[in-house]
């Protein structure tokens, strides 16, 4: 059940995106053809406030090399203040991943508006580069690719 020897490891990053801003930012990156590593898997939620630490930690336990929590800029939340709640929950998650023995660079929070396609692409590039340096997540179950 070992990872295939000759298959090179590539980081796999799970991003939770809010429907209104950051998912739109990823769309805008696409429309602008901003090339980025094929490391990202987006899961769409209506609001960053819907991102449950349960989802984030499950992603790590399933083998994510990094997890991105993204949403609208503070003050721009479609649901008034969902992203402020996200901020509070993120602070908790940040503490938790250290407890789990994960490097802090594996969890990121970013506010990206629907017009910030270039920012989205740069963010994916930067995180992928960081994770590539760190190597596979120590929590990755054996046999996962």
């Amino acid at each position: 059940m070992k990872m295939t020897e000759n298959k090179q490891w590539e980081p796999k990053i799970v991003a939770f995106c809010c429907n209104w801003c950051s998912y739109g930012g990823a769309d805008t990156a696409g429309m602008g053809r901003f090339q980025q590593p094929a490391s990202l898997r987006i899961i769409r939620v209506m609001c960053s406030g819907r991102i449950d630490p349960l989802h984030v930690f499950n992603a790590f336990l399933e083998g994510a090399d990094a997890v991105l929590v993204t949403g609208c800029h503070l003050g721009d939340c479609h649901y008034v203040n969902g992203n402020y709640k996200t901020q509070v929950r993120y602070d908790f998650m940040e503490d938790m991943i250290k407890e789990l023995g994960l490097e802090p660079e594996r969890l990121h929070l970013s506010w990206i508006s629907a017009s910030e396609g270039e920012k989205f692409a740069n963010f994916v590039r930067e995180v992928t580069e960081q994770v590539r340096k760190l190597g596979p997540s120590p929590l990755k179950p054996e046999g996962v690719n």
């Binding site: 990872m3 295939t4 090339q35 898997r41 819907r50 349960l54 508006s113 017009s115 692409a121 046999g143």
Partner: protein
């Protein structure tokens, strides 16, 4: 619900997806996934034939879930939901996977990786699809009133159109008079007809219309609720004048001893009093006191024969029930002062296009005489510099679209008024689209206006107050030194502070250029992503008068769809509680910004009509009793689990 029977449709989107991703390979892979009954590739899944194929497949294979892997759900989810609904499926049993914006377009050079990623995205989608449940959309009543924010020419048109359809309109304007920027202009291109002569009657029409309630010198403070049921709080700023009795005679203005620069209407050229009427054609034609400079001498009070001055007046507020909202909150002209572009703010005789509008306007501070600010003499040589603040990576990248035309217009007006003057226009490109605009440019050439292709590098001041402009003519490669009496900067448009304020109140998106962002650049140019809120005029992006008016009308038409039907359909994505597990702890209650949750008689109560489906409360629930429909934990976790595969 029956066992999931999923149909998967992979869209090639012509070459948009098919040119990068091996769609057949993705479809073949999808066919191996659990619960997938059939999978196929379409050239264009959203086309009529693509949709027919989905409907046929639902019938032939008795499908109860449909997954389309194509473009973004933000534009196409409603189309496919309607499609599966026509085939008899609940629209929420449809799942969308984005393999265009999030895959083929961003991995154009890595075809293999893109195909692999598309397979994984489809796998995630299939796992979620198998857990989808049918939901009901909610129907909400729509209050038959509209709110139009901003009474420039776009907002006035929007208000008139809605009012003439028979609906009540509240038109809120922050300034003491309606009319917007157009009221400040002298002439309008390409016909050179007098701006206020065509705008003035329209302003009167707005004021006279029985269905329009005009709220000038007022600002929207708070907006709550959702499509059809907005609760809006408006602040009416104290004018210190009773608008019911004031006749606009202006005697108070004559007696007022305080003079300050007239920044609001005359761009700081000339003065106004502490009590003033914004401009001669103002609607309403009523005085207003600027308390920040008033010395409370009482001269106006004594002069007023109708006792209309109320020094102790305070701001008042209105609470409005609104069905639909149109935002036409306008723009600012680019301000070259802080960066001293081309010597503006350093040299007296460098002015902006808007300042020239006021100088050249017969009702302006100089009665229409164009003069140099330094010595109040008519200039003999006038130069225009185009693209100031526009098409500039250091300022604003976008083209402000109307500056070429207003420079051509003002150049012609100067040549008409002062036939012996010399006029130069320094430009990067002249941009004159639309009917009669290019002809207008030709006319300017025929009138002897000289065009220099090149953006000046250096502007210095001469001893006589004139300015020397050094510019390379990039058509002849000559360096030209122009000695000018007056230099006019054709400044562009920027999003205004008041637009930004209203944007934040309404939660409308902003584009990268700072202007309000439409729901779709092509097909929904005046819609926002928020149901019942529409945007138009220059608050949506720079545009000229006819385009602004068209957008005002477009907003009215789009908004009145809701008003005419008297109802709106809202998403079925709301939160739901399992009372068997809920312990009524109340942790969720303050999480909801819409007051949809409450504990009543020891039980959690959810008002579905107030729930907007953000799901923030569900995360807070310690027992898992609260679940957000369509984004249930099991649905999201199915996606998380399927990001990865295990090698056996």
């Amino acid at each position: 619900m029956d066992e999931p029977r999923i149909g998967v449709f992979i869209c090639e989107c012509g070459v948009n997806i098919g040119g990068v991703i091996d769609c057949q390979a993705v479809a073949d892979y999808a066919g191996t996934l659990p619960d997938v009954i059939r999978s196929s590739v379409n050239k264009y899944t959203c086309s009529d034939s693509g949709q027919s194929e989905i409907k046929q497949a639902i019938k032939d294979n008795n499908l109860n879930r449909v997954l389309v892997a194509a473009c973004t759900p933000k534009t196409h989810e409603p189309i496919f939901r309607a499609c599966v609904e026509e085939a008899g499926l609940n629209p929420y049993l449809f799942e969308f996977v984005n393999i265009r914006e999030h895959c083929s377009w961003i991995h154009m050079q890595e075809k293999e990786a893109a195909t692999g990623k598309a397979c994984e995205l489809v796998r995630m989608g299939v796992s979620r699809a198998s857990k989808l449940e049918p939901l009901q959309s909610n129907e909400v009543p729509v209050t038959n009133t509209a709110l139009v924010i901003g009474a420039g020419v776009a907002g006035m048109q929007s208000a008139l159109d809605i009012a003439e359809m028979g609906y009540k309109v509240y038109l809120v304007e922050k300034n003491p008079s309606i009319g917007g920027k157009m009221a400040q202009l002298d002439k309008t291109f390409p016909t050179n007809d007098c701006s206020i002569c065509i705008l003035g009657p329209k302003m009167v029409e707005v004021a006279r219309n029985k269905n329009i309630e005009l709220m000038t010198y007022s600002e929207v403070e708070e907006v709550d609720g959702y499509v059809g049921n907005f609760k809006v709080k408006v602040r009416h700023k104290a004018r210190y004048v009773d608008t019911n009795t004031c006749t606009g005679c202006g005697l108070c203005v004559q007696k007022c001893p305080v003079e300050v620069p007239n920044i609001e209407f005359n761009e700081g050229i000339g003065t106004r009093k502490a009590i003033y009427i914004p401009f001669p054609q103002a609607v309403p034609l009523r005085a207003v006191i600027d308390k920040s400079v008033c010395i409370d001498c009482g001269a106006c009070s004594r002069a007023c024969s109708s006792n209309s001055i109320i020094m102790e007046q305070e701001d008042t507020f209105s609470e409005l029930d609104i069905g639909v909202i149109v935002v036409t909150a306008g723009f600012d002209v680019y301000d070259p002062e802080p960066t001293h572009d081309f010597g503006y703010g350093l040299y007296d005789n460098v002015i902006t296009g808007m300042e020239l509008e006021r100088l050249i306007n017969a009702s302006g501070p100089t009665m229409g005489k164009v003069v140099r600010p330094s010595d109040v003499k008519p200039p003999k040589k006038v130069g225009f510099i185009q693209c100031v603040g526009s098409r500039d990576k250091k300022r604003n990248r976008y083209c402000s679209s109307f500056c070429c035309m207003y420079a051509l217009k003002d150049a012609q007006l100067i040549r008409e008024k002062y036939p012996d003057s010399e006029v130069y226009i320094m430009y990067m490109d002249m941009r004159t689209p639309f009917r009669n605009y290019e002809e207008f440019y030709d006319r300017a050439r025929d009138m002897g206006i000289r065009f220099i292709r090149g953006k000046p590098g250096k502007v210095t001041e001469n001893d006589d107050g004139g300015v020397k402009v050094r510019v390379e003519d990039t058509l002849t490669n000559d360096i030209i030194n122009l000695d000018l009496d007056l230099l006019v900067l054709s400044v562009g448009a920027v999003s205004s502070e008041s637009t930004e304020r209203i944007r934040q109140i309404l939660k409308v998106s902003r584009a990268a250029d700072g202007f309000l962002m439409e729901a779709h650049p092509k097909l929904k140019p005046v819609d926002t992503t928020l149901d019942g809120i529409f945007i138009g005029g220059v608050s949506q992006g720079p545009k000229d008068i006819p385009y602004s008016v068209s957008q005002g009308s477009a907003c009215a038409a789009r908004a009145s769809r809701y008003l005419a039907q008297g109802k709106a359909i809202t998403e079925g994505i709301t939160v739901e509680v399992n009372h068997d597990i809920c312990v009524a702890c109340g942790i969720c209650v303050p999480m909801c910004p819409f007051q949809a949750l409450s504990i009543e008689e020891g039980k959690l109560n959810i008002i579905k009509a107030l729930c907007k489906g953000c799901g923030t409360c569900a995360v807070a629930c310690p027992t898992g009793a609260l679940q957000q429909n369509h984004f249930r934990n099991d649905q999201l976790l199915a996606q998380v689990k399927n990001v990865f595969t295990f090698e056996e």
